[in-house]
């Protein structure tokens, strides 16, 4: 929730990395609409794009080179990487971008569950490597938003060939980049990273150019997050943005929880989203129906949508929400208005 403010409405953020399309960031949104887009943005869309865009009157400006390979990582487990991947992935698909979400959690995959696609995964990357199927056959297309495709690395009990190290996932991303069949190369490749910093992490970050660090506002998650950020930077991934998940404004007000600004002070990373603790997250996990599809929208769903928007524009938050104001009941609220 906190998320709220994005510089894109009128002022360009100081964190915006200059990219071919970033000149348009300085323009008011109404003007941007009519401007010819830079060539990197004017891309051929798949046949489904027109359906996916319907929800929005305005589209975010895609900044940076495509496909953008983003790894979603955290260090500590259970902070919401998979939830973030599913919701941001679906938000991006709804904005009309073609997205491939890769579940790189080898031992404990669950992105397919969150997307409600668990019954449709017949082939995984391991079968592709073995030559049992082609890569395009291992990609599961979401029927709700066909511009979202899911690729799982392996089935629960099958094992990834050790000797290839992290090369396998680099090949996969390269193959997607050079794809010339129907949807063309994807705009975004989102990689859901496993917890920890062992082989699974090393594999997941190998093809990435940028990272989204998910953390919760507690000291254990923050220490792991700092470590992981350090490793990513050592590996040459300098474009790291963070999402602070499971914020409770009631606890922040009572000084029982670190505020988002405290978190930022400790990590020194630009923010793309602040996600409130929301029981709807758990419900949507149970339904296999990502939160951003909820109608009416849930608080956390709105926050994920905003985060996806900022990710597209390579933007970051300029203001964060701290605490809830006590609700003022106006005179007319008496009438039920």
């Amino acid at each position: 929730m906190a998320s709220l403010l994005s510089s894109n409405t009128n002022v360009s953020s100081s964190f915006v990395r200059f990219s071919p399309s970033s000149h348009s960031q300085l323009l008011p949104s109404s003007l941007r609409e009519t401007l010819p887009l830079p060539s990197s943005v004017r891309r051929r869309r798949g046949p489904f794009a027109s359906r996916a865009v319907l929800q929005w009157n305005r589209k975010p400006q895609l900044a940076g080179e495509t496909p953008r390979v983003v790894v979603i990582t955290s260090g500590k487990g259970g902070v919401g990487k998979t939830t973030t991947t599913a919701n941001i992935g679906l938000s991006l698909a709804r904005l009309g971008f073609s997205v491939v979400a890769i579940d790189a959690d080898v031992g404990l995959r669950n992105l397919d569950l969150l997307l409600g696609l668990e019954n449709r995964v017949n082939y995984t990357a391991v079968e592709v490597l073995n030559g049992d199927c082609r890569l395009d056959q291992a990609l599961v297309r979401d029927r709700r938003w066909p511009s979202l495709e899911l690729l799982c690395i392996s089935k629960p009990r099958s094992k990834l060939p050790l000797s290839f190290g992290s090369k396998a996932i680099i090949w996969i991303v390269d193959a997607l980049r050079s794809r010339d069949a129907a949807p063309g190369p994807p705009d975004f490749v989102l990689i859901d990273c496993p917890a920890g910093i062992d082989a699974g992490f090393i594999t997941a970050i190998a093809p990435a150019n940028e990272a989204v660090l998910v953390t919760t506002p507690d000291i254990t998650a923050l220490r792991d997050a700092d470590r992981v950020t350090g490793l990513l930077e050592c590996d040459g991934i300098k474009d790291i943005k963070m999402i602070v998940n499971r914020i409770r404004t009631d606890l922040i007000r009572g000084e029982d929880m670190m505020s988002v600004l405290d978190v930022q002070e400790m990590l020194g990373l630009p923010l793309i989203g602040v996600i409130p603790e929301d029981s709807e997250v758990i419900k949507s996990t149970n339904r296999g129906h990502p939160l951003v599809l909820n109608q009416p929208p849930a608080l956390a769903g709105l926050a994920f949508e905003q985060a996806a928007w900022r990710l597209v524009e390579q933007d970051s938050m300029t203001a964060v929400m701290l605490e809830e104001e006590p609700k003022k009941r106006g005179f007319f609220s008496f009438f039920g208005g």
Binding site: M1, L4, L5, N8, T9, F15, L54, Q55, V106, L129, N130, G131, R134, L135, Q137, L139, R141, R144, K159, L160, P161, L162, S163, F164, G165, A175, R179, D180, A199, G200, I202, A206, G230, L231, E233, C234, D235, L261, Q264, E265, L267, L269, L271, Q295, P297, L299, L302, Q306, W309, T318, A319, V320, M321, L322, E323, E324, E325, K327, F335, G336
Partner: protein
């Protein structure tokens, strides 16, 4: 429960312990007596200290609720009966006060102003109540029985309903659910208002953090995975080796697949996948072998009687498989069994 009520009802009676009446006298009074108890205790408000009396009244009330007539055996109500005659005059005083109350109200009224003003007050209150009733009724009518109700109950999925109209936002930062105040000090989301604080992180601070981390964590991403105990192959920098324990999901049993083959599998864009083709070719080879051995056999057995040779076409199944299947054919089969 009864022990609590005992304790509570005990306190108020301590002061009047000297009046004792046999319990039998009270038993006939039953619950009616209990109500009188309450009324009578209230009278005592006038002479006891305020706080203590509130407690006493409450205590007796509790005992009535929880224990009912059981209380009679406590011996406490006994005290009350004795006390009744004693404080008759206090009751009288209270009655006088109640009687004098209406005149006091009239006095207030007279001071409030004209009767017209009063009339307007009453009429406007009435109008407000009626308006509220009408509004709430409209709301209920809107909600009840519509398909939206089915969605709310989880019978229908709003996103999968053909007739549902998609939500149309201007953008995620400015729509009916999200409103940011002009000066960016507050935001309203889903009907709740939150205070906003500006982000103060600067580019310099980001760089300072980056430098701190690069000092603290020096790391090189391992590019070689080896099973624990395996020898390091020649020409490999031991710093770039990651040792994988035996039980790790990556530690697969030795793969017969070589690296370039796996890579070409990943990059294969169309046609039959490698292993499927390999298996198919192996099968085909086997069939050909069988076929050739068959024909050889046939040549050898050229001198078999006519009737046996006429039965030969019935070994047809091989003929059907033999014509080398086009890649398209295999491809089609795979597509239908793929993830789509």
């Amino acid at each position: 429960m009864s022990s609590i009520s005992n304790a509570l009802s005990f306190i108020p009676f301590q002061s009047v312990n000297h009046h004792v009446i046999p319990p039998s006298l009270l038993l006939r009074a039953g619950n009616a007596a209990n109500i009188e108890v309450l009324w009578f205790r209230k009278c005592r408000l006038s002479w006891s200290s305020q706080k203590a009396c509130v407690f006493r009244v409450k205590a007796v009330g509790d005992s009535i609720n929880s224990t009912g007539s059981e209380q009679v055996e406590d011996g406490a109500p006994v005290d009350f009966a004795a006390k009744a005659s004693d404080s008759d005059r206090r009751v009288g005083a209270l009655r006088v006060m109640i009687i004098s109350l209406p005149s006091f109200v009239a006095l207030v009224k007279r001071n409030a102003g004209s009767k017209y003003a009063m009339g307007i007050y009453i009429a406007s209150t009435f109008v407000v109540i009626v308006a509220r009733l009408i509004l709430s009724r409209c709301k209920i009518q809107n909600k009840h029985g519509s398909v939206a109700e089915l969605v709310r109950r989880g019978q229908l999925r709003s996103d999968r309903r053909g007739i549902s109209n998609p939500l149309k936002y201007e953008d995620p930062f400015n729509n009916p659910q999200v409103k940011i105040e002009k000066n960016k000090s507050k935001v309203e989301m889903c009907g709740k208002v939150y205070r906003l604080a500006p982000v103060t992180l600067t580019q310099e601070e980001q760089l300072i953090h980056q430098r701190r981390r690069s000092r603290a964590y020096q790391w090189k991403r391992p590019t070689f995975f080896l099973k624990e105990g395996d020898p390091v192959p020649p020409g490999v920098d031991p710093d770039t080796v990651r040792w994988i324990p035996d039980n790790h999901p990556f530690a697969s049993t030795a793969t017969e697949l070589d690296e370039s083959l796996a890579q070409s599998n990943v990059f294969q864009k169309d046609g039959v996948p490698f292993r499927v083709r390999a298996e198919h070719e192996a099968l085909q080879k086997k069939l050909e072998n069988i076929q050739t051995s068959k024909t050889e056999m046939g040549i050898k057995q050229n001198n078999v009687p006519e009737r046996e040779r006429s039965a030969e076409p019935s070994t047809g199944p091989y003929d059907k498989v033999e014509p080398n299947p086009s890649p398209d054919h295999g491809n089609h089969n795979l597509d239908s069994s793929g993830n789509r």
